[in-house]
């Protein structure tokens, strides 16, 4: 990117000089996360969550690869390979399994906070639209990976979750059933589906890693945004990434690991569902099929559509569920306000917090049985969700009078801390 005051990589160590002159990786690292990358000095802790997502990805990759050494991807062998082999016999297998299962939850906690940070501070606005688009792609890949991963232990929820999610595809008119059978390699989730989910579950995280590299590269062109939303004007607005943000991110990682450890070692099944400790039984449907908590808001949107209107209700539900994520792609063009940060947008700020509450309500409904109270709540909450992005935010961006922006980051910092 074009920060003329950025430090240049000048290796003193002869080994580093030798390597860098033949393969410029050392200077690449220096310019990306080292002292050669200027970052606004006023980033708050909401900016830690990108790195934490990277840490979560690495944790999942490492625990996942080791788990794959012990997993049997067959309908007959999967449940036992996890619940006997890995949990009881493999050295530290219980740790690997609980770390991987809870690591997925931690990944989503971090990603949702990261996304909401983006929504509040307008990180998706020009010139960072590409960062946002790549982020939505990563989110979709993550959801696919998590869904397939949950199927692998072949418990009751694994099987029936697969049955329900692949059932969506049969809602597609004309080709729906054929697509569903093609995805499963059969007429119901069985060996064919399990094996291919295992293959893809192993593959997709590496695709995610590639997308993350593009995501960070796209970010480093304009550089990071900041809580004021005012762009960097000069050297005094920034500090080098190393050591300032390596230290701050290091602290964030330790806090992340503490929360992660509490889950793994003291509440490993808390976020899971007891039914997944029952081996899959295609002849017996669980009383309440629910996905993992991180899918609950989308599940609520899916189940909110209970009325036919031109199209069948089931198809509306599927369209809305996918639509609720796909609309995120258009956000940079839905919100036309020239002001980035929600801190200076009083109307948008209110709408933002209503959205947060709305998503929490949707989540609560998604995890509840499909009883009238929860259905009604999810219908109202889903209506607000679509209204927020497609109607309210565009209108706010035209009507709103933003608060006066600081002239620069430095000005904001000095105002806050006293010159």
């Amino acid at each position: 990117m074009s920060f003329p005051w950025a430090k240049h990589y000048e290796p003193k160590n002869p080994v580093m000089q030798w390597v860098d002159s033949r393969l410029p990786l050392p200077r690449f690292v220096y310019n990306a996360v080292g002292a050669g990358y200027p970052v606004p000095r006023n980033l708050n802790y909401w900016w830690n969550f990108g790195v934490l997502a990277g840490v979560a990805l690495v944790c999942q990759l490492i625990t996942g690869i080791v788990l794959a050494m012990h997993f049997h991807s067959s309908a007959a062998g999967a449940f036992d390979s996890v619940n006997v082999g890995i949990m009881r016999d493999v050295n530290a297998g219980w740790f690997l399994r609980f770390a991987h299962a809870n690591g997925a939850s931690m990944f989503f906690v971090v990603i949702y906070i990261h996304m909401f940070r983006g929504l509040y501070y307008g990180s998706y606005k020009a010139p960072r639209e590409m960062v946002w688009l790549l982020g939505v792609v990563i989110f979709l890949l993550l959801m696919a990976t998590a869904f397939m991963g949950y199927v692998l232990p072949w418990g009751q929820m694994s099987f029936w979750g697969a049955q329900v999610i692949t059932g969506f595809f049969s809602a597609i008119p004309v080709v729906g059933d054929w697509v569903r059978v093609w995805l499963l390699g059969g007429y119901a989730p069985d060996d064919a589906a399990l094996n291919r989910f295992f293959s893809l579950h192993y593959l997709l995280p590496f695709v995610i890693a590639g997308a993350v590299i593009l995501h960070i590269w796209a970010l480093h062109i304009p550089g990071s945004s900041n809580p004021t939303g005012v762009e960097v004007k000069g050297e005094q607005d920034t500090v080098p990434f190393h050591p300032y943000y390596t230290a701050k991110d290091g602290l964030g990682v330790v806090v992340f690991l503490i929360l992660f450890s509490v889950l793994i070692f003291f509440a490993p099944d808390y976020l899971g569902h007891p039914d997944n400790y029952i081996p899959a039984n295609p002849l017996s449907t669980p009383a309440h099929i629910v996905p993992e908590w991180y899918f609950w808001p989308f599940y609520a949107i899916l189940r909110a559509f209970t009325a036919d209107f031109i199209l069948p209700a089931k198809l509306w539900g599927v369209l809305a569920m996918f639509g609720s994520i796909l609309l995120l792609f258009f956000l940079p063009w839905l919100d036309k306000s020239p002001v980035r940060s929600g801190s200076y947008r009083p109307m948008y700020k209110v709408a933002f917090w209503v959205l947060v509450a709305d998503v929490l309500v949707l989540g609560y409904c998604g995890g509840s049985p499909a009883e009238p109270l929860y259905v009604i709540l999810s219908q109202i909450a889903a209506a607000y969700y679509f209204a927020h992005f497609l109607i309210i935010v565009p209108i706010i961006s035209h009507l709103e009078t933003p608060k006066p922006l600081p002239g620069s980051i430095t000005e904001a910092v000095l105002a806050k801390t006293g010159a």
Binding site: M69, G85, D89, V90, A92, L96, Q236, T410
Partner: protein, 182 residues
């Protein structure tokens, strides 16, 4: 400018860096400690270790008979040597052997008639003949490997053919009529 001055180097670099070095070192130790269970998970799991020793009931094996069984998922030959076979083995001058060992060295103390060896040819790993009824025991009356012609004697020692070593004798204990191998 006020802030530029703030970016200037610390007054006491040694004292400020100490905490940073400490944090990084402790984190590195932590990372090292985490690596251990990951690597250890690749070691044999408890179910594999539980099958790491095999019991053989010797009471069913008559002198001159042998059985084929399995030890750590590999073939195991358990033979009850006749006095004639023992004498044959002892008569061979050890210096003439490719892999010099006496029968006594290859059997348990006081149980020289029990020859317990892996059924894996030390050449390239085929399963030699001779343990089953009517199988070809080769020119030296022990075991014979059909793959490349290695011939073992009554003590399971290599006498002819490309195999470099005698048939491997695993660790075992004989308690009464039970041999515990491994």
């Amino acid at each position: 400018m006020a802030i530029k001055a703030d970016l200037a180097g610390p007054e006491n670099p040694r004292r400020r860096d100490y905490l940073q070095y400490a944090a990084v070192s402790v984190a590195a130790v932590g990372a090292g400690v985490v690596v251990f269970p990951l690597v250890n998970s690749m070691n044999p799991s408890a179910d594999v270790l539980a099958q790491s020793s095999t019991e053989v009931d010797l009471s069913k094996i008559e002198p001159g008979q042998a059985i084929k069984t399995s030890f750590r998922k590999q073939p195991l030959f358990v033979r009850n040597l006749t006095p004639k076979e023992i004498a044959e083995a002892d008569a061979v001058p050890v210096s003439a052997l490719r892999d010099p060992q006496t029968l006594e060295q290859r059997t348990a103390k006081g149980h020289t008639n029990w020859l317990i060896t892996l059924g894996v040819c030390t050449h390239l790993g085929c399963v030699p003949l001779g343990a089953g009824e009517g199988e070809n025991r080769g020119p030296f009356g022990g075991y014979f490997c059909p793959c490349h012609g290695s011939a073992y004697d009554t003590a399971g020692r290599i006498r002819q053919g490309p195999a470099p070593k005698n048939l491997e004798v695993p660790k075992y204990n004989i308690n009464g009529a039970i041999a515990v191998v491994g």
